[in-house]
Amino acid sequence: MSLILEHVTITRPDGAKLIRGLTLNVAPGSVTTVMGPSGIGKSTLLDAIAGSLAPGFALSGRITLNGRDLTALPPERRRIGLMFQDALLFPHLSLAGNLAFGLDPRIRGRAARAQAVDEALAEAGLAGLGLRDPATLSGGQRARAALMRTLLAAPEALLLDEPFGKLDMSLRDEIQRFVFDHAAARGVPVLLVSHDPQDAAAAGGPVVALA
């Protein structure tokens, strides 16, 4: 059970090929890092896997997750979590509201959902901050909240798009550890995109270089 890319090729609207015949197997609980210079198509690859490829781009090949073919599914049904450089917490919801937004709908009942959110907040060291405006949180708090929100949706894979790029060095180690530990604990395959070798080293898994 894992995230598998078979002969994935992405064509730009002008016909140029961004990614050619990429084949990858990301095992559960492991982190695969995709590296390469800007403009090579790293983010486009993540868009293709998440299902949000811009109109005009064409994808060939096959992407499967835990045996399900993702290619034809809309993004909301792929069960793939996304993390970006920015935490992208919803500005109109409280911190708890953000977490509840992602929370798996199979958890039912107001009390059960509130409890799940509280536990996730505590796990991220954000206990008691549930009613806070996301805009008032620190960068580290926001990053942890974003990861918890993603995990609460019970994703079967995680895609990380340069998630540590904006963090300063002291915070960076902490958040890297937090993300990778949680992913490993849940046994989900992680695909990390970065241009920073330090991220790849911290991830500790295989590295794929795009060129």
Binding site: D47, A50, G51, S52, P55, P74, P75, E76, R77, R78, R79, I80, G81, L82, F84, D86, L88, F90, P91, H92, S94, F101, G102, D104, P105, D133, P134, A135, T136, R149, T150, A153, P155, L159
Partner: protein
């Protein structure tokens, strides 16, 4: 869903084209109701034989081009002068009253401010020892100056908002810093670097302003010269001449008006192409003005324009105040600064009338603005990020109303539509929807696409992404677009008049009619109400999001 933009475009373009076609038929002599069945050039011969036609065309061009170009210059100067001190959100709040107040209401107020017996003359009277109003032609002047001033008070704020929105899309601070580091003064940087960067976003709004300026009717009736009037007013008069056969040359005049607007746009486009051709060489020369005073000329012009802009804005505010005061006056003879006697008579005597007009205006505005908002959301959901045909939604704003409304009226009648609220509402949608869509599309596309992708990754389908994320995040721009829709609907004069057969009496049709009556107090009542309705809508657009998002720093901010 995919078909929404195409359908809406067709619904916007078809009435304009059909209306123009009907008007065009009459312009070439075909009007079966008058027994004219064969095409001829006779209407055009009649049109060109009408006295004052040349004068009307000249006036329309001079006052229209003058107002539009000066408005652009002053708006740029004001934005430049206030740069850094004025965020787009704050500016929107300050400019709201000017955007909200309908053209006709503002014109009625300006007329009182500028008239020889008006507030300015009254303020000067003790100094100049005037016991009678001076004999100066300060409104309805034969050169159209008062009309130009009135147009500018409405257009400068609109262009300022457009400029501020465009500036939000370019790295202004960095361009400024870079330009100044290279030795250019702030004015020079604006002209050489900022303006070319934002012009593509200003082009269409400026064209809309150009067309409105050369073809407006309601403001020109109140502030413009009477003999000859500007072309739009002249054509409106010919359309209602007791001599029914005048409809043919009037239709030719309407087509001429449309041609005039086209010519003005073509000229603006030509000037732009010329600047684009000559500009690079000029920029490459690297002239920085005399040493020690970089760009002092540009600076002086900008400062002067900014001052003029502030004076005009102050005049606009006084004009609005004058409306309210007149509605509460009993007698207010020259040279008193304030009324001699006050009374609520004007309000109470006309109460049945203004209540009905108010209800009609509110009903029309509420319906058209809300429907336009819903359609705009559907459009933006469905449309690709950049649609080549998008400029077409501006077609109803780029073709002078007088050019197609008379014809559209005939089309509506043929289609069996009664001249009622429905017909007027449909007609108003032609103008309300484009403004609502234009106002919403910027903020809509500015929403970080990753935010929507994050929501999708969390399992939210398209509907939930729209309702639970995009709409709440866009609450303020949504309400602002809605308020703009309200203001546009309330201000519509010609569409309401033509498509409602005059039976649909709104605050604006009543205000313009009453402005031609003897009772300035009653005009004051209607014009005040006319300004009040959109102002309240704008107030909602500021207060509701501020309250709703009171604990959300990234979204509140109306009160910061």
């Amino acid at each position: 869903m995919r078909a929404v933009p195409a359908l809406l475009l067709a619904a916007l373009v078809a009435p304009v084209v059909l209306g123009l076609w009907q008007t065009g038929r009459a312009a070439f002599g075909i009007m079966p109701a008058l027994g004219r069945e064969t095409p001829s050039l006779e209407p055009w011969r009649q049109l060109f034989a009408l006295p004052g036609l040349g004068g009307s065309i000249r006036l329309s061009l001079v006052s229209g081009l003058g107002a539009a170009i000066l408005s652009l210059l002053i708006a740029l100067a004001l934005v430049q002068a206030l740069q850094g001190r004025l965020s787009a959100a704050r500016a929107a709040r300050w400019l709201a009253p000017f955007l909200a107040v309908p053209h006709a209401a503002l014109a009625i107020g300006m007329a009182f401010l500028l008239a020889p017996s008006g507030w300015i003359a009254r303020a000067l009277a003790p100094l100049m020892d005037w016991t009678r109003p001076p004999g100066a032609a300060s409104v309805n002047d034969p050169w159209g100056m008062a009309l130009m001033l009135g147009l500018m008070v409405k257009e400068i704020p609109f262009l300022m908002l457009v400029i501020l929105a465009a500036l939000g899309q370019v790295p202004l601070a960095r361009i400024m810093a870079m330009g100044r580091a290279l030795g250019y003064g702030p004015g020079a940087v604006w002209l050489r670097l900022v303006l070319p960067a934002i012009w593509p976003m200003l082009r269409l709004p400026f064209w809309v302003v150009l067309v409105y300026s050369v073809s407006n009717v309601d403001m020109a009736i109140i502030l413009g010269p009477a003999n000859p009037p500007v072309l739009g007013v002249a054509v409106t008069r010919w359309f209602v001449s007791p001599d029914l056969a005048m409809i043919l040359p009037a239709s030719a005049g309407a087509i001429l008006q449309a041609g005039l607007a086209g010519a003005v746009i073509a000229a603006a486009w030509g000037a732009e192409r010329l600047a684009a051709r000559l500009g690079p060489a000029w920029l490459a020369r690297g002239g920085r003005g005399p040493a020690g005073a970089p760009g002092w000329m540009a600076g002086a012009v900008l400062r002067l324009a900014a001052m003029a802009g502030l004076v005009l804005m102050a005049a606009g505010l006084l004009a609005m105040a004058a409306l309210a005061i007149w509605s509460l006056a009993f007698r207010w003879p020259f040279p008193l600064i304030l009324p001699e006697a006050w009374s609520l008579n004007a309000w109470s005597m006309t109460a049945p009338g203004w209540r009905r007009a108010l209800m009609t205006s509110v009903l029309l505005a509420g319906t058209t603005a809300s429907l336009s908002l819903a359609l705009a959301v559907a459009w933006l959901q469905a449309a690709p990020a950049r649609m080549r045909a998008e400029w077409l939604i501006l077609l109803p704003l780029l073709v002078p109303q007088i050019g197609f409304l008379h014809g559209l009226n005939v089309v509506f009648l043929r289609a069996g539509l009664q001249a009622d609220l429905l017909a007027v509402g449909m007609g108003q949608m032609l103008f309300v929807f484009p403004y609502v869509l234009l106002s919403l599309s910027g903020p809509w596309r500015a929403v970080d696409p990753r935010l929507m992708r994050t929501a999708a990754a969390l399992g939210a389908g398209p509907w939930r992404r729209l309702v639970a994320v995009r709409l709440p995040v866009l609450l303020r721009p949504l309400l602002t677009a809605w308020a703009i829709g309200i203001a546009v609907s309330v201000a519509q004069y010609l569409p309401t008049l033509y498509l409602g057969a005059g039976r649909v009496a709104t605050l604006t049709t009543e205000a313009v009619t009453l402005a031609s009556g003897s009772d300035r107090r009653v005009s004051g009542v209607y014009a005040s109400l006319q300004a009040l309705v959109p102002l309240l809508a704008y107030a909602c657009a500021f207060v509701i999001p501020a309250w709703w998002h009171r604990d959300r720093r990234a979204l509140a901010g109306a009160f910061r």
